[in-house]
Amino acid sequence: MNLPAPTISLGFTAERFPAGVHICQIFSDDDERQDALLAYLQSGLEANERTSCFSDKASAPIVAEHLAQHGMSFDERCACGALTLAPTREVYFKNDRFDPERMLEVLTKYHEDSVIQGYPAARVIGEMTAEVQHVPGGSRLLEYESKISLLLREHPITCVCQYDARSFDGAMIMDVLKVHPLMVIRGSVVRNPFFIPPEEFLGP
């Protein structure tokens, strides 16, 4: 008999999930975004997971203050590599282009290093900005997101993708939904009925 896979806390919901889930958060409120982000980082670090944040909105002082309020040192966690903060552009648009393959390699290596370094799990939260629609390779965003779902089967990094509904057109938001199996609705994580499995979405 197979034992159930270990579960993780996402921080912003009481429900626990297996590591390596791919979740989309469509938000239209800055507090909603920041609350989810800080709770997600906090829960990951509290579980000693390797935790990374790729967002222009996660400033070091805010994160440090939040962690300090929960008994954790921002500087220590950064110094040991358990916590990484990086702006969206620096990670996603390196060399002024969006390169899904490079990003997938980054995530792969991130997970492999985490395993090597003995982290029980690894998690990432990133906010895709509307700039993606204007940089070379940006049209491959949905392909990238769909491929992440494939990658996570091998490298179960827990991923939360934040999209600001105020920055993207509604049709784009619907398209983003289709490549995320889970999504956050009013603070709860639900299965996405619009989700199209990567094999179907990416096609043969």
Binding site: I26, S28, D169, G170, V190, F194
Partner: protein
């Protein structure tokens, strides 16, 4: 096998509808919502695509199913769903209807929220604008209030700086304000306490308040200012003022008269000064008139005396030769009496003109008056009581006692005539110390201590018109032949000659009081009356007689020759000097007129004395102005005989001068 009419429902499809309903709440606008919804609806079973037709303009199409986006009166067009498989689609149609309705509800909520937000924003903006406006208004109002306060303070300070009293009232006479001067007059601590009061609440008497109200009404009714209303006002301290008020109507912006503004000036002092000035002017005019009359009288007396001298002299000579004819002697005596009465008249004229010769001495006025009482009582008769009221410690005065006789005789006779039948005459003396600081001094009276001599009667009194002419010569209220009109003129002249003042207080029916003010004398008795001594009237000395009136010259020569003297007579000074030069023998006496053509008597005396050392001199004149000093006093050693004189007077005086020891040259 028949095709089923409807396909079975699939739960995920319903989940999609629910998920869209939840997600679209995050989308920012209708464009994004319809973009999202249409993309999602395209995944419904049997649906080829969906679009939004905001205006319902899309042409009818069998494949198009329309879902109206409407809630109540709000409408967002239609969602058009292109259905290629109705069998697969139809089971979801009710859910899609619900979904579209919910979309419409969400849009309506958003619209309402947006309207609310806009309204809220509008309200907030309005509140902000109104708050800003109110703050501005408050600031402006404060500025206006501050400006108003400063303006009021400045106006109050300005009004309080005005030396005149300023006040303003409404149409009903209720005070609206006043300045400090007026508040003080009204007995108020502060000007603002005047508000609400009327003149009848203020300290002035009711009659004056009614007068003020009457003035106010006149200004209000005529809508014209009234200037220089001179009236009286009683201040809160009881002082009564004379005020000069100007009142003007107060009008509002529309020209309606709503009150009266008044300004008054305290003219009490000005009126007093004007009255004093008028009094002094009147005195000056009177003094000038009296002086003019005096000069005229003096001049007349001079010529008249010369004529009387001839009458008296020749009558005297005639008398000496007419002893054998009693009838002739009696006639000549009558001529002599008439001439002497005429001489008395001219003497009175000279007294009035202050030109009579006097020998003043320091005397006790009480003693002088007391010595006259019997004579005065006889003068006024027994039916009139004479009351003598001397001051017990009267100061001395400097005056010729004979002039006191003249004063009292004239005043007492006048009092007697005023009393008529029975009555009372009071003579009293008093000291008047420090006159300078008390009542205003009469014109020409120096400040200092004075002695007053008052003659008061309870007779008929004198009216104002008569008082104005009392001291003029020949002015009389007595019947023709009863008075010369020179009595009070004489008194006036004597008083002025002695630097005094005479005042009269009288009212018809209430008696009269004449008060003579004489300066207190601080000196001892320095002047001594020259007593006339009887002595031998004949002589044998040489006498040089100089007189420009030939008739007098001949009369004098004849008198002197008949009394044994050697007479050298000359009409003119040059002739006299030639006579002296040619006459080898001593000349003992020069008898000379004072006023002559060319050289006057005094110069002639000096020149003759140079030729004839030891020469004595006797001046004769009918007009003493040239031989007496500034104050009517004879200079030391000067011998003088007033024309007209009798033969006896003349020979006695000549003898007296020749017999006296030679003193210092005059």
């Amino acid at each position: 096998m028949t095709q089923p009419d409807t396909a079975p429902l699939r739960a995920p499809v319903l989940g999609q509808l629910l998920l869209m309903q939840n997600v679209l709440c995050n989308l920012p606008d209708e464009r994004s919502i319809f973009s999202f919804v249409c993309r999602g609806l395209a995944d419904l079973p049997g649906v080829a695509g969906a679009s939004h037709d905001p205006e319902g303009e899309e042409a009818a199409d069998a494949a198009l199913q329309r879902f109206s986006l409407q809630v109540g009166a709000s409408h967002w067009g239609e969602l058009l769903v292109r259905v290629y498989d109705p069998v697969a689609f139809d089971p979801y149609k009710p859910y899609l209807n619900n979904f579209v309705f919910m979309v419409a509800v969400i849009l309506e909520e958003r619209r309402q929220r947006r309207l609310n937000e806009e309204h809220q924003a509008y309200l907030e903006q309005r509140v902000q604008e109104r708050t800003s406006q109110m703050l501005t208004e408050i600031a402006e109002r404060r500025m206006v209030e501050e400006e108003l306060r400063r303006s009021r303070n400045m106006l109050a300070r300005t009004l309080d700086s005005i030396p005149q009293a300023v006040f303003w009232k409404d149409r009903e006479g209720v005070y609206l304000g006043c300045n400090h001067v007026f508040a003080v007059a009204a007995g108020l601590e502060r000007p603002e306490l005047i508000v609400g009061k009327t003149d009848f609440d203020l300290p002035w008497p009711r009659g004056e308040a009614e007068g003020y109200r009457k003035d106010d009404r006149a200004v209000l009714e005529q809508r014209c200012p009234r200037f220089h209303i001179v009236e009286q006002l009683q201040q809160s301290n009881g002082a009564r003022l004379w005020i000069d008020t100007t009142k003007v109507p107060l009008t509002d912006d529309t020209g309606v008269v709503y009150g009266v503004l008044g300004v008054y000036d305290d003219i009490t002092e000005r009126r007093r000064e004007e009255a004093e000035r008028e009094r002094l002017q009147e005195q000056l005019t009177q003094a000038q008139k009296m002086e003019s009359i005096g000069r005229l009288a003096g001049g007349v007396a001079h010529d008249f005396n010369n004529m009387l001298q001839a009458i008296l002299g020749y009558t005297g000579l005639a008398l000496e030769q007419a002893a054998k004819s009693p009838e002739l002697v009696e006639d000549l005596h009558e001529i002599m009496k008439a001439a002497r009465r005429s001489a008395d008249l001219t003497q009175q004229l000279l007294a009035f003109a202050r030109k009579q010769t006097v020998v003043p001495r320091v005397l006790d006025l009480n003693e002088t008056v007391a010595s006259m009482l019997k004579m005065l009582q006889r003068l006024i008769g027994e039916s009139i009581q004479l009351v003598w009221s001397p001051h017990p410690a009267l100061w001395p005065v400097l005056i010729d006692p004979a002039q006191i006789d003249q004063l009292l005789a004239n005043l007492t006779v006048n009092a007697r005539d005023a009393v008529g039948g029975t009555g009372r005459i009071v003579i009293e003396t008093a000291n008047q110390p420090g006159v300078a600081n008390s009542a205003p001094l009469p014109l020409g009276v120096e400040p200092g201590d004075y002695v007053t001599l008052t003659v008061r009667d309870n007779g008929c009194g004198i009216d104002e018109n008569t008082r104005a002419h009392l001291f003029e010569p020949f002015f009389t209220t007595k019947a023709l032949g009863k008075g010369t009109g020179l009595g009070l003129a004489t008194v006036y002249g004597i008083v002025k000659q002695n630097h005094g003042h005479i005042g009269v207080h009288s009212e018809p029916g209430k008696g009269t009081a004449f008060t003579i003010w004489l300066p207190r004398s601080a000196a001892d008795d320095a002047a001594t009356a020259v007593a006339a001594e009887a002595g031998p009237c004949r002589g044998s000395e040489s006498v040089l007689l100089v007189e420009d009136e030939e008739q007098i010259l001949n009369l004098g020569r004849r008198i002197l020759q008949e009394h044994g003297y050697t007479v050298l007579a000359a009409r003119l000074p040059e002739e006299a000097l030639r006579t002296v030069t040619d006459f080898p023998l001593p000349i003992h006496l020069l008898v000379t007129d004072v006023v002559m053509p060319g050289v006057n008597g005094r110069e002639l005396q000096a020149r003759v004395a140079a030729l004839k050392p030891g020469l004595r001199c006797l001046y004769i004149s009918g007009y003493t102005a040239d031989v007496i000093g500034h104050h009517g006093l004879l200079e030391d050693g000067m011998q003088f005989l007033q024309k007209p004189f009798s033969v006896a007077d003349f020979t006695r005086k000549v003898r007296q001068v020749l017999d006296q020891e030679v003193g210092p040259a005059p």
